[in-house]
Symmetry: C2
């Protein structure tokens, strides 16, 4: 049995017992919450395999005594990948702004003391800056601690709907976690503040559906559950306090392991078989309103205060999701546990085909984990403020989403977005018409049309076509001396295969209506999503 | 006499004698060029003063034993500033893409050895990562060395038009350079490759005019000059080889010091008075074609091979700029010198009102330096490749541009872009209409309208208006139970002062045509640029 799937970081592998600031440093907080941030980042941590040209850890012996490479665990982004990623960011940002969120951009490094003690065992993965005589700093490990710091520095801000899309840094050990990047994007949106219950929680889920709908994903599932329901179930089953976390981790594996395996794991951890059986009876259920009915009608669970509080929240949430028209992707899944420690309310995880982990014994493609995850964590972002600031949010797994978009053919496979290529041809005495090409290019730029032309004074026509085609430019504007004298230019949509298409060899248009004619054909052009 | 103006880094203060890789490490390059990158970044290095809430270096004693601050020289970006900056990035990126450029995104840190030896004296400003047992790395200092590394790693790429907008890191000493940031954005576009002369050089200048025109700047100047012309002038005047750089630095100060001061500085550096006079006779000239005429007709300069080669380039450049319609902002300024060492051809600097340095003795506002600068540097980006890769580019001073945009009122002064606020009111028995507010919000989001609503179940009307107004939302959608029963909603443009405006108190519209009615009023709304 293989517990560790590449790019998949089981919560069990990471013990997130975290000490917060020493009591003397936390004013007015009698209770010391624990803030493990590892599991929250579950979906972000498992990364797609590095691309073929990434030389992770290899010395480039061929480069003449010089180590010409990016640092281990990092990569350059360019071409098609960069274009796809930027389009994803534009889409996501658009949705965030539509919901009234504003951005918070924080420095790439924080004071070392700000990050210390926040990540438990994972603290050894923090990149420190060298002591060069000033403040000791470390590269940021996530975006939640910076948010908490900003909130504490701005105590007059009582409510904050913020998104941040930025790179974070973790000195993961490749031997342990093959293919994992050390520099990668996180994409978070959080709604911090005290509001009437479940309203922002519902909006965050609505934001998630808006994002994946904007990406034209027609099949994805948002698994949701509630910390209090899990707490209540475990208590009611009789799980000892010190086993709650390992048991939660075990339950969380039901999305990829059969119950028999999970039960075995629970027993290995010291759980009595009958308790395990009770849990198994309860958690292997998912659905919608029927799950609420089940919880309310179960003899034991209906008597649990925690469970009933969770149910009350879920009922409210469902009503709001209905108002938002966002119910259809939701799956109330009692086996969803995630890292429980800092979640205090609803929790969720978005999965899609190609992202769900393989279930042993079933014929499913090996996925790469969830594509987004989050929940409510009321004790977290107030960590520096001296008082809790309720917060609910979600984190999108950028790398995973990109690899799924590529697998689904959502990449244009074009690095450049250039729409038009201005070229010229002529016979004997051809001057290259560079001035004319530049003038035409300038008109197209002024009209907002993305345009290039050859940087040669006298380019040959085949070379210009080659340059246009290899860049994937869909349309050529071809200048000829005689045509131009007569006030005409030729417009040619490239790559027309249909011999019967009257425009297969281009069409002569009036110079004066060139822009309109170009736009007409560009808009008609079928483009990859 | 105050030579050092805050935020202004005279090139003289930095000696950029840089050693490249040791000869044994550079294959096939018999000549060791010197690569000082400091002066190039002249316009980026002088930063705007930190905003009032930036606690540079101050301990926050009030924060109860804990140092709650950003590291020295860094800042958070949020609210109006972040919105303005993101709009600037969108504008600039739009122009870059229109010209067929693609992005290259590199890691925030490079192998230490990649950055070593590239920045001369400034090397002490590099942030190193701590040695934590792996590769030694440093935070990137600029975007040119990463570009050079990438080109060397991808030798099949012969031509590359790339932009990169990213933060760079320099451990500047605040005592020396008050107000200077240690983390700041650079925004570069470069065209690398061998092309027919001056074509990409002209396109880079066209890109610059497109950027500032897109920002609606109606007054800016692009000063241009040519390395060979300066070389030729200095040689012809008799400047000794070892004085060429200090003399160039002195000449470069003519934009803010009177000739008498500059001449004095030259003499202090050891230049003979008659030589200084010759230079003074030549360099204090700017214009257009008339400067070309002057150079061609000057008895001494017309005999200089360097000067005439430079003139030939400039003539070609002017012809191309004419074809692009980009001549009108150009000032051929013989006093523009910048850091000469790595420029090999045309050089340029963009200045605007409020950005030009104060000239002593003249009543001009204290500016903050240029807003963009660059040139041709054929020996630079091939630094790792073993062969020169010709390159021409420009770097935009993001922070400076932003402060000028703010000074010119180009900021919306709105952190959020939210267009519509959905609210509800009612008398006795008012339920809060949360479900209805959510449903309406969902319709608006689906229509791409940025919308918010109060997260209270039963909000009071005044509180909802206050929330909308403090966020600067221009339009309210007001739901009432009776109105809704009759299939109507009220739309109110907020802040109408004109008492005679029939819509001052809002207008009832059909629910079915709500979106159209909202769009009509949003499009009519005058918005800050």
């Amino acid at each position: 049995m293989r517990l560790f799937i590449p790019h998949f970081r089981p919560a069990l592998a990471r013990r997130h017992i975290v000490r917060t600031l020493a009591p003397s440093k936390i004013p007015c907080v009698p209770f010391l919450p624990r803030y493990p941030l590892g599991p929250r980042l579950y979906c972000n941590q498992a990364q797609t395999p590095p691309p073929i040209d990434d030389d992770m850890g290899k010395d480039d012996k061929a480069s003449k005594n010089f180590n010409l490479k990016v640092p281990k665990g990092t990569r350059d982004w360019t071409g098609e990948d960069a274009a796809l990623r930027d389009r994803l960011f534009d889409t996501v940002t658009d949705v965030f702004k539509r919901h009234g969120a504003t951005t918070l951009d924080t420095p790439v490094f924080e004071l070392k003391e700000i990050l210390s003690g926040k990540y438990g065992e994972d603290s050894k993965l923090i990149y420190d800056l060298q002591d060069q005589g000033g403040e000791l700093c470390s590269l940021r490990y996530d975006l939640t601690v910076p948010l908490a710091r900003w909130l504490a520095m701005n105590p007059s801000v009582q409510s904050f709907k913020r998104y941040q899309i930025a790179k974070v840094y973790r000195r993961d050990q490749p031997a342990m976690t093959k293919g994992r990047m050390r520099e990668f994007y996180q994409c978070d949106i959080d709604i911090a503040g005290s509001y009437d219950a479940m309203i922002p929680d519902a909006e965050v889920l609505k934001i998630a559906t808006d994002v994946f709908d904007s990406l034209d994903w027609d099949s994805y599932t948002i698994k949701i559950n509630h910390r209090k329901i899990l707490d209540g179930m475990f208590k009611a089953a009789g799980v000892p306090e010190d086993l709650i976390r390992p048991i939660s981790s075990a339950v969380d594996k039901l999305d990829k392991l059969p119950w028999s395996e999970v039960k075995k794991e629970m027993e290995t951890k010291g759980l009595a078989t009958d308790i395990a059986d009770k849990i198994g009876y309860w958690v292997q259920r998912k659905g919608g309103d029927d799950i609420i009915e089940f919880l309310k009608s179960d003899e034991t669970l209906s008597k649990s205060e925690d469970v009933m509080k969770g149910v009350q929240d879920m009922e409210q949430l469902f009503a709001y999701l209905d108002a938002f028209g966002a119910r259809k992707r939701i799956s109330f899944d009692l086996a969803l546990a995630r890292g429980l420690d800092y979640y205090t309310g609803v929790i969720y995880e978005v999965v899609t085909e190609g992202s769900a982990p393989r279930v042993q014994g079933q014929q499913q493609e090996i996925g790469v984990g969830s594509v987004a995850a989050g929940g409510r964590y009321d004790q977290l972002v107030g960590m520096f403020s001296g008082k809790p600031i309720p917060c609910v949010g979600i984190s999108f797994g950028i790398d995973r989403i990109i690899s799924i978009m590529k697998a689904r053919g959502q990449s244009t496979q074009r690095a450049k977005d250039v729409d038009a290529f201005v070229m010229a041809f002529g016979g004997k005495g051809f001057t290259g018409m560079l001035t004319e090409r530049m003038q035409v290019a300038q008109e197209l730029w002024a009209a907002g049309i993305k345009t290039e032309f050859s940087y040669k004074v006298k380019p040959k026509l085949p070379q210009q076509f080659k340059q246009a085609e290899s860049a994937g430019v869909p349309l050529a504007v071809i200048l000829g001396e005689d045509e131009l004298k007569n006030g005409k230019v030729k417009i040619k949509v490239l790559g027309i295969k249909d011999e019967s298409n009257p425009e297969k060899d281009g069409v002569l248009v009036e110079r004066a209506s060139m822009i309109a004619e170009i736009r007409k054909r560009l808009n008609a052009e079928p483009r990859a999503a």
